[in-house]
Amino acid sequence: MEFLSNLALGFSVASSLENLTFCLIGVLLGTLIGVLPGIGATATIAMLLPITFQLEPVSSLIMLAGIYYGAQYGGSTTAILINMPGESSSAVTAIDGYQMARKGRAGIALAVAAIGSFFAGTVSTFLVALFAPLLTTVALKFGSAEYFSLMVLGLIMSVALAHGSVLKALAMVVLGLLLGMVGSDIYDGTPRFTMGITAYADGLNFVAVAVGVFGIAEILRNLEDEHDRQVLTSHVGRLWPTREDFRAIVGPVLRGTGLGSVLGILPGGGAILASFASYTVEKKLSKNPGEFGHGAIAGVAGPESANNAGAQTSFIPLLTLGIPANPVMALMIGAMIIQGIVPGPNVASEQPGLFWGIIASMWIGNLMLVVLNLPLIGLWVKLLKVPYFILFPIIMAMCSIGVYSVASNTWDLYAVAFFGLLGYVMGKLRFEPAPLLLGFVLGPLLEEHLRRALILSRGDAATFINRPISLTLLLLAVGVLVLVFLPAIRKSRDEVFTESEG
């Protein structure tokens, strides 16, 4: 078994004392920046790049990778405790995780997030090792037509399955799509809806929008309501989930891991998409969909597993093709080049120690995270006991620093303020922020791929049905629509994004 001997080589590299130490530094640092809302892995890795010049290539990449998946862990902590997604991929976790915290189940929510992430991390590490070459071929088959059809399926699933205030969910998706239009048209450079502000030429910053509609809005709501200050639940409750909790999370964790592993391979926000997709699926499959939005444990377990699996498998295109799936991966490529390693298909054969060492270190890092985080949960929840005339300003300052650090762009801060207000007003009117974010993420991709597919086919729309993968995805989308509008099924439609009552 070549796979086993490769993994053995990887573990022998990754378990040297030096590499274990750098792995630990990486995951600790990652957890820390993940806990600080807004300060992302991208900024941290960029700042640390020069330091890595002095290290061995494999140590530096192990450390940087540790920061990345450590941040995914840490990001969910703040999402659960204070409704501030520390990382954009944990935006979904905030929905139910925070509700669990308000009900005194913060400890369990955090533990479930950690366990789900660990399981997903373990599975996807082995997936990376086993299937990296194969999965890469699949990812390469995805051209613009396929991506477009995938986005269509995603949007239809999320909207069509909604009921109750379908109209409000739709309105939010559309508003999200429109907000996604802000910025330069990538095909001819025409600025759209930028109000003449050059700083918005590349569009609104996702972190700014997410921090605004979730976090700042939450702070405003709490400030307003003197009697109902729930941002700081004083009791965390027990940490270890009960037997029932475990039963409730097995399915979501497994499905989340699967979804995340697949979507993570696709370039462009795979981990974010994965967490949204997992949330939608769990809500659809749940026996009590009404529970979602009010502290459903599956709403934490699924998306958390999905985003961690996605974070892991996004290394596949990086390691096998030298193609970054997201900005963090672009930085990793930079780190490799600085070390004199040309990223690309040759890395696995020319530098097997490095390639398999990184893969093995991911599993070791995930183990470290779970061992570290279970006891650390106690420390993180102490955050809840800090009085909020201290905590709120700190959170606001941290968010601002974090958002600013992404591109040193003052206008991103104005965007945070604006979306904070918008989120607050939306909350008053019982509109949910999640569909808005989904539209905001998918909108620009939908447009980019639609137009590119059409340019490539010279304006022939048949390209979407002539390509088998694209056709399959579109048929699935049609299938979803048909199912939804059949009267019998209509009755059992679930609420997907309509978890009102905030």
């Binding site: 960029a46 990812a139 990538i186 030429a201 030298g322 600085i338 690309g344 298909p345």
Partner: protein, 327 residues
Amino acid sequence: MTADFTRRAMLATTAALTMTLALTHASPAQADFPDRSITLVIPFAAGGSTDLVGRVVAERMSQDLGQQVIVQNVGGAGGSLGATQVAEAEPDGYTILMGTVATHALNPLILKQKPYDPVADFAPVSLLVLVPNVLAVHPDVPADTVQELIDLAKAEPLAYASSGNGTPLHLSGELFKSMAGVDITHIPYKGSGPALTDVLGKQVPIIFDNLPSASGHVSSGKLKALGVTTAERSPAFPDVPAIGETLPGYETYSWNALFAPAGTPPEVVTRLADAAKAAMADPKVAEQMATFSATIVASDPAALAEHVAAEMAKWEPVVKGANVSMD
């Protein structure tokens, strides 16, 4: 708007004040330059080739200057945001820019509203490196030379991928089209990465890319390099001809150069240029630049000024001919 206006006004006032001060007390302050950390603005997101060159150089310049050179990524609007920030900064040498062919030749030609003047608003410091671009195709494309590709393009419709509208790679493609007399559809992407993915996956047959980002795929045979865009062949790929061997006079490359805001005292500019030269002379830096296939120039300020003028003159007809413009 108002806030921005006041800030600009304040900056202008501070700048004027500093200049007056600098004029009255000429050199003593400059003798100690630098006496605090220097900010190197990189006008692109972290991770790209400009960012890499910048970080390597900043690290080494810090040793020479005895003060930390801090890298700040101010990405956005194809480099215009970062360049504008430095153009408006205090001209004291403590805020400098990692300029590129985009910020100091292409954007000023392409943008209808010019946020800064690449010549009047900057004091050139040093042209650091030249980075070749490469014309490559998917291995299944039935063309092994530039000439065969031109013939193929005349026979059937083709498309090429680039890292975005108005980027050096897009214009390298446009220059190629006009010199070869062919029409190839341009497909812009958001950066080199996704463009490469689509060419490797055979969604688009042709790509113009930076040599450093494409080199791994070329050596592994996943991409077929037909020609480099520099006048000479690249030492990293001696077997790949220059496009100029088929289309005489064809020459494009990306470059990175340090700029300070206009009005920076000449002694300070010289000090920075010396530090840059020392950095580029370091064998370790040279080794790292070689891994990016970058050719080290490390020029003096006057040579950079000439270089900018030459680049503007070279690109103007291409930009006009390709009819690329942005608001």
